[in-house]
């Protein structure tokens, strides 16, 4: 009994933590990138390999967090409505049939902030705690 209670308690805590984290995940581009906003489907197209360009025609390089990291989970659930398994299956098909490669994954938020901040074509996501002057938050609607 106590162990089960503990497990339930842990799950509740995790939920709370992730929901807090979720609220803080934002989509970012380099401050040099004029992109101000994207629709959800435009964002999904970029992250699911359906396009490699921004709506304005500029080339785009999406980057990911590590699989199963809190930001990764939150981003795909919140913005793309996809579970990790679904994402994996999607890329599995694309890679197998030779039609694309998944976004490059970076080890942590700092690395991601650095990468996006230095690349005008990059697009990423991270906790708003990691925002800095090199990044611009893209409004998603």
């Amino acid at each position: 009994m106590p162990s089960r209670l503990k497990r339930i308690g842990c799950s509740l805590l995790l939920c709370l933590v992730s929901s807090v984290a979720l609220a803080e995940v934002v989509v970012v581009v380099s401050a040099q990138n004029p992109l101000a906003k994207l629709t959800r489907s435009e964002l999904a197209d970029l992250y699911l390999g359906r396009t490699s360009r921004f709506p304005n025609g500029q080339p785009a390089t999406p980057v990911d967090h590590r699989e199963n990291s809190p930001a990764y989970l939150a981003f795909y659930r919140e913005y793309l409505g996809q579970t990790p398994a679904q994402v994996k299956m999607h890329w599995s098909r694309l890679i197998f049939t030779g039609r694309g490669q998944p976004p490059h994954s970076l080890p942590d938020s700092k690395a991601l902030a650095d990468f996006v901040g230095e690349n005008a074509s990059a697009i990423g996501y991270l906790d708003d705690a990691h925002l800095d002057e090199r990044l611009r938050v893209v409004a998603i609607d």
Binding site: E67, W91, S92, I95
Partner: protein, 786 residues
């Protein structure tokens, strides 16, 4: 009643049609089936079957074609897809092999994890999302990995062979083996155990090209290991790993390259599939692709269902239309048949009417003529004589005229019934028209038998009738002609029977007479008479002869009897007995009788004016004349026109005329009496009237028939009868006249018996008026003969 059956039901006019029918039976039966074909029921059932056969043949053919086409499409599609899959697998395996080779090549003095990290950062490793790369040492311990690996020991299979080892990655912790491991030895030296580079990827990666649209829920994509283990197999959304199947059977059952795939039952789940299984050339695995037959043919089956539904609908419509047409046609047929039947029955009715008498239902003249011809042929063939009886009702005209036509018709019907009952079944009774009947006796043995039949007929007809409430008797005269003795053709036979019938009439009616050659000559005379009788009056060919009556006491002529004669231009003088019955029949008796009355009265007056004493004038009335309504008017008219005293006129009627219709006769006689005319009974003694009935009649004179007088001297019975009549007359206060007196002996006898008057050749024979006047003068001047 032989012929009355004919009246009820029509019998075939031509009997000989029966064998002819039998003959045509065979040909009609031959034709019958082609006839049946056009029977609406047969025709339209046949058409319906044809239509159904056509519809379903076309449908089944179409379905078969569609099925074959779909089968071929699926088989080709399976091969096509297998080739694509093979290419994808080969490319994926080559990429993996390349990665492993790259790792082996890149390893140097640095720690292995740095080398891996370096490769990763340069993007030379496959995406970490799917692929894990490990390096393990010779003992199998994992040295490093791109991922945070749980096991310490690399459990991936290590095949003792050159090249890339492929196998399921057994993970003992989770018990799952849903990843595939690809590994290569790090050292080229095969002798020593060395470390290994391993690449792990989800087994589902190799079946992620599964397209639901083409492979469906029951299709299969699979990688088969060399040992008969499915490295991975996917059907629909289900992905399995590690299933064991018969490797060789799966590969051996495969069709040759570029050939359409065959349908096989999959060993693992029992589903029928278009299956392609191909070992890869470079790697120790085989690809398997299967398309579910049920799914591939599903579209065709749906199409089939559509075709069948359409065929069913078309069949239904065709059946409905044909049924409707059939029904219409059947109705039309029936209407035609009914019209035909109506026409036929109308024709039958018309034919019946054409061959039967309306009134009695007996065969008519035309039909009888036909029957007679037939019977004559039969008689000739079988040498059987037949007899023809020609019947004419006596005095029918008088009855018809006095009682009306309805009574006459009723009488004819009754007579026809009686005739039918009087003859045998095989005999034929027919009505020729008016009061003429004929009877055909087809089988006769001889004259005696015919006479017997004739007597039976006479008796049957002679039985009293009741008509319009009155009892009646009618008689018939029968003429008999025999075939072939009396005539060999129909016309002759009929004519001769007719001649015999007239002879029967002349013989006093109510009797039957056989034809004979003698009659023929008489009848020729009669025929001539008939044609010239009509013109005799206007040509003034009639004349009166007069015979005197003498008073027995004084010997004086006291009266005359007017006797009609016909001065025929060719035949000479014709006596009344030869033409009176004829005149009665055709009605000429009335104008002739009138002429006689006028002429006799005028002569009487003329003689008085010439100085002769007032003589009585006797005039004979015929039966028809007596019953004629105009008689009294005619007598009155004659008396008035000539100015003759009524008591001088004496009308003579026969006994039989009085007996015919006694009450009426009595009435007429009373009327005559009122005019003052005297009444005499002629030919008394020959009739059947009882003497007692004489009292009922207002008579003045009895005339004893000449036949009694002729044999008066020789025959005792005639003598006694004559005496009885004389006594009776005297008792009744009547004048008795003896006719046909031819000898002095007779005169003596009659005088002794106190007969009142005599008349006969002995005194005077009948003479024309001028000769009679001469005789009279001589008689008056001369003496009475002794």
């Amino acid at each position: 009643m032989p012929t009355s059956t004919n009246a009820c039901g029509w019998w075939p006019l031509i009997d000989r049609t029966a064998p002819a029918n039998a003959e045509t039976d065979r040909t009609t039966s031959k034709r019958s089936w082609s006839h049946h074909l056009v029977e609406p029921v047969v025709l339209f059932t046949g058409l319906a079957l044809l239509a159904l056969a056509a519809i379903w043949l076309v449908t089944l053919n179409l379905v078969e074609r569609e099925r074959l086409a779909a089968d071929r499409r699926a088989a080709l599609l399976a091969v096509d897809m297998a080739e694509t899959y093979e290419a994808q697998i080969v490319r994926a395996l080559r990429e993996i092999d390349t990665t492993l080779k790259l790792v082996r090549y890149s390893l140097d003095d640095r720690p292995p994890h740095e080398t891996l990290e370096d490769l990763r950062q340069r993007g030379m490793l496959p995406p970490a999302l799917l692929f894990e790369v490990r390096i393990s040492d010779a003992s199998g311990s994992i040295v490093t990995s791109t991922h945070d690996t749980i096991p310490e020991q690399d459990a991936s299979p290590a095949f003792e062979q050159d090249g890339m080892a492929i196998g399921l990655d057994h993970q003992e912790a989770s018990g799952e083996d849903n990843r595939l491991a690809f590994s290569r030895q790090l050292a080229d030296d095969e002798q020593d155990e060395s470390g290994r580079a391993t690449l792990l990827v989800d087994a589902s990666y190799f079946v992620s090209g599964y397209e639901q649209e083409t492979l469906g829920e029951q299709g299969v994509l699979a990688l088969l290991g060399a040992n008969g283990t499915f490295l991975v197999r996917r059907s629909g959304d289900t992905v399995r790993t590690g299933e064991q199947v018969d490797h060789d059977a799966l590969l051996d059952g495969n069709s040759a390259l570029d050939e359409p795939a065959r349908v096989r039952v999959s060993e693992w789940d029992g589903v029928r599939r278009y299956t392609v299984a191909r070992p890869l050339f470079e790697f120790p695995v085989a690809i398997v692709l299967g398309l579910s037959e049920a799914e591939q043919m599903g579209a065709v089956e749906a199409l089939e269902q559509t075709y069948f539904r359409r065929a069913a609908l078309t069949s239904l419509i065709a059946l409905c239309v044909l049924a409707l047409l059939g029904r219409l046609s059947w109705k039309l047929r029936r209407t035609q048949a009914r019209i035909l039947e109506e026409r036929l029955s109308h024709a039958r009715r018309a034919e019946y009417l054409a061959f039967h008498d309306n009134l009695t239902g007996l065969p008519n003249r035309a039909f009888f003529s036909h029957l007679l011809t037939n019977h004559m042929q039969q008689a000739r063939r079988y040498d059987k004589p037949l007899a023809l009886l020609f019947l004419d009702l006596d005095r029918f005209k008088a009855i018809n005229d006095s009682l009306g036509h309805d009574a006459g018709d009723e009488l004819l019907q009754e007579v026809s019934r009686r005739l039918g009952q009087a003859v045998r079944e095989s005999d034929t009774v027919a009505r020729l028209g008016g009061d003429e009947f004929v009877i055909l006796l087809p089988e006769t043995s001889g004259p005696s038998q015919i006479t017997q039949v004739a007597n039976k007929i006479l008796a049957a007809v002679g039985t009293p009738f009741t008509l319009v409430g009155q009892e009646f008797r009618i008689t018939v005269s029968i003429g008999i002609a025999r075939y072939p003795a009396d005539g060999e053709d129909e016309q002759t036979l009929m004519k001769h029977a007719d001649v015999a019938m007239y002879h029967a009439k002349e013989e006093g009616k109510n009797n039957a007479q056989f034809y004979s050659e003698q009659l023929k000559s008489d009848s020729l005379e009669r025929l001539a008479l008939e044609s010239s009788l009509r013109k005799a009056l206007e040509r003034q060919e009639f004349m009166l002869y007069y015979q005197s009556k003498l008073d027995m006491q004084t010997g004086r002529i006291i009266g005359m009897e007017a006797l009609l004669r016909w001065q025929h231009p060719e035949l000479g003088l014709v006596l009344p007995k030869h033409f009176i019955s004829l005149a009665e029949e055709n009605g000429l008796i009335v104008p002739i009788g009138r002429w006689v009355l006028y002429t006799a009265c005028r002569q009487n007056v003329a003689w008085q004016k010439a100085g002769f004493p007032a003589l009585s004038m006797a005039v004979n009335l015929s039966a028809r004349q007596f019953l004629e309504d105009g008689l009294l008017r005619d007598i009155e008219g004659a008396l008035r026109a000539t100015g003759m005293a009524p008591e001088l006129l004496e009308v003579e009627i026969t006994e039989s005329m009085m007996m015919l219709d006694m009450p009426r006769a009595v009435g007429i006689l009373h009327e005559l009496r009122k005019l003052g005319v005297r009444i005499a009974i002629d030919d008394f003694g020959t009739g059947y009237s009882s003497l007692s009935k004489l009292k009922a009649f207002p008579l003045d004179t009895i005339k004893i028939d000449g036949s009694f007088i002729t044999d008066l001297v020789g025959s005792a019975s005639d003598r006694s009868l004559t005496e009885a009549i004389i006594d009776l007359g005297r008792n009744l206060g009547l004048t008795v006249v003896a006719e046909g007196v031819e000898s002095a002996a007779q005169v003596d006898y009659l005088r002794r018996k106190a007969c009142d008057q005599i008349q006969g050749f002995y005194m005077h024979e009948p003479q024309p008026a001028d000769e009679a006047a001469l005789s009279m003068r001589r008689r008056i001047d001369g003496a009475f003969p002794p």
